[in-house]
């Protein structure tokens, strides 16, 4: 992504969503939006202004019926439109899971390529210690990754959000875009004007020599903070933002590990079965000889999420836990003073 000096704007993650939608709706009149409360601007304000600009033939309110929403998007995509359906919280993918994993993901293949399904499903995702609890606080990218046929995008910053969502809308295949709800307020400077970031290319956020830290969505910032602390300890950490799980840019991670020989993965979701495991197993299978130590995963606790803040803190993926994981990989024991229970290990 190039930056031009002359026109930059402050953009929030929330508005990045809206701007990407507007950008693509202007570019391509086949792009339409549907979902609950989207006409009035959406409960996270990510569709604000779209009805005014594009009218009621492009912006469609729906009843509460996620199956019908996902199905309508699928059918319209097959018939040549480019629907973007909001699923308000990604936890609610569970209420239309059949449409997502059994219909949208499979129909192109099972018809021998007779149909193409260019659609985007998008909505708020993730834990972020906001008190949303078990039914509104999940990081659900993994659910999707168990099923081939769906692209998975989970951006880490406002500019990333704008460019990756635009690419998702332009993509000819079904893409799920996960918007971390704790990032909606995040702001950064972005070039004014159209922005598209290709899917399937990881981003090196920060170069380093001693260890590779891989994050996605909110854990990219977690890794950056960990890297800053490690710097102070004389440890140079490279931070990679995976950006998309499918297509997976494993190559970028393999190349980094070939230089650093150490890998720590930070994933917000429960570790029982997370994308970090997939990445770890790929790196181990394909670059075993390069590894000076085992890849270590820092994952969310293997529990539904609690609400009280001390409990949330207990299960969260934090820079502290990433720092400790790096120390473990490097064979440095953590100073006992800061030792706290490590949920992933206990659990």
């Amino acid at each position: 992504m190039e930056r031009r000096e002359f026109i930059v704007a402050q953009l929030s993650f929330r508005n990045a969503v809206r701007d990407a939608l507007a950008q693509e709706m202007r570019r391509d009149e086949r792009v339409i939006v549907l979902g609950e409360d989207v006409a009035i601007g959406g409960v996270f304000k990510t569709t604000a202004g779209l009805l005014d600009e594009f009218g009621s033939r492009r912006v469609w309110d729906t009843p509460i019926c996620e199956q019908a929403i996902a199905g309508a998007a699928m059918g319209a995509a097959i018939a040549g439109l480019r629907p973007i359906a909001e699923i308000m919280f990604s936890d609610f993918y569970a209420t239309c899971w059949d449409q997502v994993v059994n219909e949208i993901a499979k129909t192109r293949y099972m018809t021998g390529g007779q149909v193409t399904i260019p659609l985007v499903l998008r909505g708020a995702n993730g834990f972020g210690s906001l008190g949303f609890g078990s039914q509104h606080g999940q990081a659900c990218e993994n659910w999707v990754m168990t099923v081939p046929g769906l692209k998975i995008v989970s951006p880490a910053t406002p500019a990333e959000m704008k460019g990756l969502l635009a690419a998702a809308i332009q993509d000819p295949d079904p893409v799920l875009v996960f918007e971390h709800k704790a990032l909606y307020g995040a702001v950064e400077e972005v070039p004014d004007g159209d922005l598209v970031i290709p899917l399937g290319r990881a981003r090196t956020v920060r170069p380093g020599r001693d260890v590779t830290l891989v994050g996605l969505s909110i854990t990219v910032r977690t890794c950056e903070e960990a890297a800053e602390r490690l710097d102070a300890q004389g440890i140079s950490a490279e931070v990679i933002d995976l950006r998309t799980l499918v297509p997976l840019d494993a190559q970028a991670v393999l190349e980094s590990v070939a230089r650093t020989h150490r890998l720590v993965i930070a994933e917000e979701n429960p570790g029982q079965l997370g994308w970090g495991a997939s990445l770890s197993s790929i790196v181990v299978e394909e670059a075993f000889g390069e590894l000076a130590g085992p890849p270590v995963r820092v994952s969310g606790g293997n529990i539904p999420y609690p609400v009280a803040s001390v409990l949330e803190a207990e299960v969260a993926v934090t820079p502290d836990r990433v720092v400790r994981a790096v120390q473990q990989v490097l064979g440095i024991s953590a100073p006992t003073a800061t030792a706290v229970p490590q949920p992933a290990a206990i659990n």
Binding site: D61, P63, E66, A308
Partner: protein, 338 residues
């Protein structure tokens, strides 16, 4: 199999007006207002959905349920928990993230539950709990208990698949369950009238399930008790499930974070005039069971009681962090590896 050891169930015999019920309306209203205030002070963890203006339904149905009966509701469930006798203090502890929360700090506002009082929980994914309500009622049917399950949900919920499946199965199996739709006229920000194919979200669907269309003024506690009471008795006597639509209105936004500006001022005013507390108060006063000063005293008392309770709770410590790792499995642990 539920143990009937709790004396605090809130069943009220008889059909007549009852000052005690007004007191419950007042306390419930004060409780919700208190949560609203605490939310605006930044003290409540997570979102908080209040049933301000809808209290007559929760209080009315609560008074119809006997010990052993079961109820279940949504994220907008504070009133429904209180209506069965759940502890306001434990609820405040939950909402404010203190030790001793009613869900041990793991539920928060959207998941208030008090099984010990027959309130089987607040569920935050639209529609799902209707299917769970069936299961509670089914267990009673199989075990030949004469208990009834009441399930509360909103107008927006009638469009989701889980609603349809649940009401269908209840009808086919003739379960002792009463589905109560609190039609507060809105989904989140969208008026329900724009998102249904007929005039009434629930009542117009009853016939599709072989049920009678039942509508009740949900802001009139007396009517709530009469109409839903009859449905509950039918279910109790094995005459099968019911689907009731109770007309009401939420006086504030969808959640405490929502100012509700999408609602026409005139509409809000019209419904304010039909505030369920005003309606019942007038009925009691007309029947000379209550006078203004006694009513005002109840307002003051409830406020004072909740202020005092809040002060105690705010002084309490947070729960122990280790609690994050308990109670996933019934052995109390959460470990997934051997």
């Amino acid at each position: 199999m539920t143990q009937e050891t709790v004396a605090t169930r809130r069943f009220v015999e008889g059909e007549g007006l009852n000052v005690e019920l007004f007191q419950r309306l007042v306390f419930t209203r004060r409780f919700l207002e208190k949560v609203d205030t605490l939310y605006r002070q930044g003290r409540v963890r997570g979102p908080a959905h209040l049933g301000l203006g809808q209290e007559a339904i929760a209080v009315g149905v609560g008074s119809l349920l006997r010990p052993g009966d079961r109820s279940i509701g949504t994220y907008r469930g504070h009133a429904h928990a209180l209506a069965r006798g759940a502890s306001p203090e434990s609820m405040l502890r939950e909402l404010l993230g203190r030790e001793g929360g009613i869900c041990a700090g793991k539920g928060g506002s959207m998941h208030i539950t008090s099984v010990e009082h027959g309130y089987y929980g607040s569920y935050a994914i639209v529609g799902a709990h209707l299917t769970i309500a069936n299961g509670l009622a089914w267990a009673d049917q199989i075990q030949r208990n004469d208990a009834v399950t009441v399930c509360f949900f909103g107008d927006g919920t009638v469009n989701i698949g889980a609603f349809h499946e649940a009401v269908t199965l209840a009808a086919v199996w003739k379960l002792p369950v009463v589905f109560v739709c609190e039609n507060n006229q809105y989904m989140e920000y969208t008026p329900i009238s724009a998102m249904i194919p007929t005039a009434r979200p629930a009542a117009d669907k009853a016939a599709a399930y072989g049920m009678t269309s039942i509508v009740v003024d949900g802001n009139d506690l007396t009517e709530v008790r009469r109409v839903i009471g009859a449905a509950i008795e039918d279910a109790r006597c094995g005459r099968g499930p019911a689907l009731v639509e109770a007309d009401t209105y939420r006086l504030k936004g969808h959640s405490a974070a929502d100012a509700g500006k999408y609602r026409p001022a005139e509409e809000v005013e019209r419904w304010r005039a039909r505030d369920p507390l005003l309606v019942y108060r007038e009925q009691l006063i007309a029947a000379e069971l209550l006078d203004d000063s006694a009513a005002d005293q109840m307002w003051t008392d409830a406020r004072d009681e909740l202020n005092a309770l809040t002060e105690v709770v705010l002084k309490a410590p947070p729960p122990d962090a280790s609690g994050a790792w308990t109670d996933l499995w019934s052995d109390g642990s959460s470990s997934w590896r051997n």
